[in-house]
């Protein structure tokens, strides 16, 4: 039962699946009245809870990948805003949101520096074999092979590559892509990009297709949104166009790359290497990758720093406040 005090606070419907919660719930509860079907006592189905309580709900807080379907939206006739806690919004029916004029905000700017940091970290690791080198030292192989630097060290020299002067192609030059470009420019990389439309304020060369970008790049960094159009945007042709020494980094979504083809090309030595934070069927990762030294695997943790979550809390709180005081929102998702 809501207290009189709670009743005065603006109402926010929380939409999440049981395994997902957000750590700053109690701080939000000080400023907003949170309605969470999963906290209902006695337990009630989401559908029933929403039908009963939330017909007047104007804002929905969506925790991570909890899907928002047309059906769910139809239960919320007064909904005006969906605040998402992730950068990706492929789990939200954006077409329906557009039709109903429901604004959607994502974690965009809060996440970008951390995601960009990981993309660069994965790239340097692949090019310079940091993880492979670390494994080598821990296995005692450096000491064992020390006097005669054959094998790993000389092999390294013929496989290691540096970042300087390399052509980096960014697939999706949004907030995250922009942060990646800024970092890699300082390493002496030449930047090019592919996105739906050329961005007039951006000084880097734009390529109409991922294929064209790949032909003109040594490294591809995938960080665009996953939509119907971008599914498998990096397909076999694109990877072959990147070339034998090419390196692919994926910090977007697994389904942006044709994973089966990627694995095959890596195993056959037709690609220089890959750094992957996302996969098509997480947490399943193709086992063929486990024995490759030119691949670095990361368990979808591009945003897993406490600072990132602090920034997220700040952004979500700011957006909720802004909405209820009719002020401009940040990190608004653009509809096509």
């Amino acid at each position: 039962m809501a207290t009189a005090q709670e009743e005065e606070l603006p109402l926010v419907l929380v939409h999440r699946i049981p395994n997902f919660d957000f750590p700053f719930k109690h701080r939000l509860q000080a400023q907003f009245r949170l309605l969470d079907p999963l906290d209902s006592v006695p337990p009630e189905s989401t559908h029933s809870f929403i039908s009963r309580h939330a017909a007047s709900v104007r804002v929905l807080l969506c925790v991570d990948p909890t899907p928002i379907s047309r059906d769910l939206l139809s239960l919320l006739p007064s909904l005006q805003l969906i605040v998402c806690s992730s950068a990706g919004v492929d789990h939200v029916d954006l077409i329906e949101c557009r039709r109903r004029s429901i604004a959607v905000t994502n974690a965009g700017k809060a996440f970008s520096p951390d995601v960009a940091d990981l993309a660069v970290g994965l790239l340097i690791d692949v090019l310079r074999r940091v993880s492979a080198g670390d494994r080598y030292v821990r296995a005692g192989l450096w000491a064992r092979n020390g006097e005669y630097p054959l094998g790993f060290k000389i092999l390294l020299k013929h496989q290691f590559s540096n970042a300087f002067g390399k052509r980096v192609g960014i697939v999706g030059l949004g907030s995250i892509g922009g942060e990646i470009a800024k970092r890699l420019e300082s390493f002496g990389c030449a930047i090019g990009y592919n996105s739906r439309r050329k961005k007039p304020s951006v000084p880097f060369p734009w390529y109409k297709t991922a294929y064209d970008l790949a032909i003109n790049s040594d490294i591809l960094i995938v960080c665009c949104a996953l939509t119907e159009e971008t599914r498998h945007i990096v397909n076999k042709d694109v990877m072959v166009a990147l070339g034998k020494g090419g390196v692919i980094i994926n910090v977007g979504r697994g389904a942006l790359i044709d994973e089966k083809e990627l694995v095959q090309l890596l195993v056959q030595g037709e690609l220089g290497g890959a750094g992957l934070d996302v996969f098509e069927n997480e947490p399943d990762v193709p086992e063929e990758l486990f024995s490759l030294n030119n691949v670095v695997l990361s368990p979808h943790c591009a945003v897993a720093t406490p600072e990132c979550f602090d920034a997220l809390e700040e952004l979500i709180t700011a957006n909720l406040k802004a909405f209820f005081s009719s002020k401009p929102l940040q990190s608004v998702v653009e509809f096509d």
Partner: protein, 309 residues
């Protein structure tokens, strides 16, 4: 120049060996039979960070004219002896600057974001059973650089792109930089979260990272060493890491390479790589070409490209 004896001190890079063989009479130090027979014909030594040219070697080569090091660091060359004998010395600056700077940032990211540990987490199948957990952010952190020479400056430029606050310590304040200067390395360590060692190894900088510096850097601090192992008091770093007095470390160099303190091999907050700072195809070749060019210039009585002495 095929009758000029050039001594290579240890196996380095096949391409360099091959190029030296076609141009000079290449003698390999690790084949000691050869050395005794040929010591008077040796006019040049090509050394590296592992085996350089110490007093003993220089004394055994009466006709030595030039030491062309396949490295930028000169700590393995007895410079005083070379000065005394009028022996020229060259190294390989600039061509490896970017590689070493890239690795410094790569090690920092690997330590803070736990890249190697999480890679192992995935490879061992643990991801199926649950999430990896949190790491630490790099962007925006304060970075302290020991030695703002070519490599230190290149590191600073990159760290700035991550919105890091840059400060440094060196023998004297550098003109033309906006970075904050600390005349005392302990003060630098106390005022940064990531300390990166990028200076030359000399008598003064031996163990420049000692207990006091480590204590100042603190339990959340990260130490990155892409200089020389001897810059750091290794036992102090090891015990600080084991006791939680130091947050983490990324090390490319060690006091007794290729020996690495066993205690480090099981720690998750360290990243260890086998002295690969300049080990890329592109840079190794550029370094080799520079060594050859210096030798050819010397034996043609032309100006050296990158002389130290």
């Amino acid at each position: 120049m095929n009758n000029i004896g050039v001594l290579m001190t240890c196996p380095m890079f096949k391409y360099l060996e091959q190029e030296l063989e076609t141009r000079f009479n290449l003698i390999k130090l690790w084949n000691t039979e050869f050395l005794k027979k040929n010591s008077s014909s040796i006019k040049a030594v090509v050394g590296n960070t592992k085996v350089g040219a110490d007093a003993e070697l220089i004394d055994s080569l009466p006709n030595l004219e030039i030491v062309a090091s396949y490295s930028v660091g000169l700590d393995k060359i007895d410079l005083d002896k070379c000065k005394e004998r009028g022996i020229k010395v060259t190294n390989t600056p600039d061509v490896l600057t970017d590689d070493v700077a890239d690795l410094a940032i790569g090690l920092t990211l690997a330590v803070l974001r736990k890249i190697c540990v999480s890679d192992q987490f995935v490879r061992s199948g643990k991801w199926i059973n649950g999430d990896f957990g949190l790491a630490s952010k790099f962007s925006g952190k304060s970075v302290g650089i020991v030695g703002l020479g070519r490599i230190g400056s290149a590191i600073a430029k990159r760290a700035e792109a991550f919105d890091c606050l840059i400060s440094y310590h060196s023998r004297s304040k550098k003109p033309n930089t906006n970075y904050k200067y600390y005349s005392n390395i302990v003060d630098l360590a106390a005022n940064c979260e990531i300390l990166i060692v990028a200076c030359a190894l000399t008598e003064e900088t031996h163990h420049i990272v000692n207990r006091k510096v480590i204590d100042a850097l603190g339990p959340k601090g990260i130490l990155i060493n892409i200089g020389r192992g001897a810059h750091v008091n290794e036992p102090e770093v090891v015990s600080a890491l084991l006791e939680g007095r130091l947050g983490g470390a990324g090390l490319d160099v060690f006091e007794n390479e290729p020996e690495v303190p066993e205690e480090l091999l099981t720690l998750e907050n360290v990243v260890l790589v086998p002295h690969v700072g300049s080990d890329t195809e592109e840079t190794s070749k550029a370094m080799a070409d520079l060594v050859i060019s210096n030798l050819e210039a010397h034996f043609s009585d032309e100006p050296l490209l990158t002389p130290v002495l």
